[in-house]
């Protein structure tokens, strides 16, 4: 089996599993309890908070544990929007290709009377700080721009965008779910006010995430209940998951540079291999992308059938085709970078990790090439293109 879908989720690391097991055996108490068992759990939770804070250049008091990236995104956006509304500020700036956890939350706010401006991400899959500066108005209460895109892996200039927001005194949130573990995060130096993380994207457990909210920003409670997370997030804390997430994040941050070099070499070889397939195109730019992300469109084939053929050969990948999402529209990310619906249906995302090997990359290239050929051989669309009845797009 070749797992090349690390942007979807990662396997938990041994370190994370050990940290969780130890926590479940020894610090299983309720951190809110005053007795010894409870206080041991409270200490464990605090240490997880400290270690995660250290990985992103924050203070432990600025770390709030959540159920995952989606909750962190929702929490950040809703808090900033409601805080803004109190001052009559109801304008939000974001991008057209954010994760649904951001986009659907913004849509909800639009229905409540907020004005949302989604910036064009161009063919390259990025926005410039100038675009952000140009979009900010006197009534802008929030700028939310992802650090790296989940589908095409493009990296956005968060530091510059953050600087613009600081200058204009607008809250800046970034969804760093895909970036964490692959790109350095330093909330202070990068001018980030709020940031979302998800544990399972970097070999930690599922069901846990973090919202970083800098001092001066007080996230509004989404849940009514106890006084956990300094009164901001009710519900008994998932201490084992927090310990697992902290252990996983420390581990990936410690090996980030070594992993990056290895991944870039794997990624570039995969891109070169797939580029040899005729009428195929890389989505996003060649170098300004996450070290493990490869996203392609193949003309004349549909992505889901390509995934099924690859799965039959033991290769796990992902696609932005409509058929994989349960909706009729292909990926909003691919449409946002200017791919036509027809081409977007034929997309394939392969996301590598340091555990992948050059041999696996070679096997993926072979399998994708043969599968695309097989599907094209039965595709009336491809036949019409080859015979000249319809034009090639890629």
């Amino acid at each position: 089996m070749i797992y090349a879908d690390h942007a979807a989720t990662t396997k938990m690391s041994r370190t994370a599993m050990d940290a969780m097991r130890l926590c479940m055996e020894e610090t299983w108490g309720n951190p809110s309890s005053l007795h010894d068992v409870g206080q041991k759990a409270a200490l464990a939770l605090w240490s997880a908070r400290e270690r995660i804070a250290a990985c992103i250049g924050a203070c432990p008091e600025e770390i709030y544990f959540t159920s995952g990236g989606t909750e962190a995104d929702n929490w950040a956006i809703l808090s900033a929007a409601h805080e803004g509304a109190k001052k009559g500020k109801r304008h939000i700036v974001s991008t057209a290709f954010e994760h649904h956890a951001v986009l659907n939350c913004l849509q909800k706010l639009e229905k409540q009377g907020f004005e949302v401006e989604l910036l064009d991400v161009h063919e390259s899959g990025t926005v410039s700080w100038r675009q952000v500066a140009g979009a900010i108005r006197a009534d802008t209460c929030l700028v939310t721009v992802m650090y790296a895109n989940n589908e095409i892996g493009s990296i956005l200039p968060v530091e510059r965008i953050g600087a613009v927001c600081r200058e204009k005194k607008v809250v800046f949130h970034t969804d760093a779910v895909q970036a964490a573990g692959y790109l350095p995060i330093a909330v202070g130096a990068q001018n980030i006010d709020m940031l979302s993380l998800s544990g399972h994207k970097f070999h930690g457990p599922k069901g846990i995430g973090v919202l970083y909210a800098g001092k001066g920003i007080v996230p509004e409670p989404l849940l009514a209940g106890g006084a956990q997370e300094r009164g901001r997030r009710a519900g008994t804390e998932n201490v084992p998951a927090a310990m697992g997430m902290a252990a996983a994040l420390e581990e990936v941050c410690a090996s980030m540079e070594v992993n990056r070099k290895k991944l870039v070499s794997l990624r570039d070889r995969l891109i070169a291999g797939l580029s040899a397939i005729p009428h195929a195109a890389l989505n996003g730019e060649r170098s300004n992308r996450l070290p493990g992300n490869v996203s392609f469109c193949f003309e004349g084939v549909e992505g889901e059938s390509l995934l099924l053929l690859l799965d039959g050969r033991g290769i796990c990948a992902s696609s932005g085709s409509a058929c994989t999402s349960g909706s009729l529209k292909p990926s909003h990310v691919l449409l946002a970078i200017g791919r036509s619906p027809e081409v977007a249906h034929g997309s394939l995302r392969l996301t590598l990790d340091a555990e992948n090997t050059q041999e696996e990359v070679a096997e993926i290239c072979r399998a994708v090439s043969e599968s695309v050929e097989r599907l094209r051989a039965m595709s009336p669309l491809w036949k019409d293109k080859v015979s000249g009845k319809k034009p090639f797009v890629l």
Binding site: V301, S305, L308, A322, M378, S379, P380, K383
Partner: protein, 132 residues
């Protein structure tokens, strides 16, 4: 993948009747590229019997499996039976399709009916029974 029945996967992995017929008596095409699926069905008719049928499909796993199953169901059958082919029959023969994939079986039904209609059109016949 548990999304699909074993039958769907069988027809997806080894689709029956893939290809085209050079001197087809009827050709039907439905769907469009922007929506992510196109089906083209070729018929060879002898004495009102479908003596041969081939398909070409651009689409997802269930679109390919539906095409394969639909063509298998009408091969060697009288034209009138092909006209009566329903998407429910195709989906049932595949041991069911997920709800959001049922339109693939509808496309298969429509492609077959379009090919039959094309055959009648070419023969200069009109057939009121055809509903496409």
């Amino acid at each position: 993948m548990a999304l699909y029945s074993e039958k769907v996967m069988e027809h997806f992995r080894n689709p029956q009747n893939v290809g085209s017929i050079e001197d087809a008596d009827g050709i039907g095409e439905v769907g469009n590229a922007a929506c992510g699926d196109i089906m083209r069905v070729y018929l060879k008719i002898e004495d009102d019997i479908i003596s041969d049928v081939k398909f070409e499909t651009f689409g997802c796993g269930s679109a390919i499996a539906s095409s394969s199953m639909a063509t298998q169901m009408i091969k060697g059958k009288p034209l009138c039976e092909a006209e009566q082919l329903t998407n429910q029959a195709v989906a049932e023969a595949l041991d069911g399709l997920p709800a959001h994939k049922l339109h693939c079986s509808v496309l298969a039904q429509e492609a077959v009916r379009a090919a039959v209609k094309d055959y009648y059109g070419k023969r200069g016949q009109k057939d009121g029974k055809i509903q496409v």
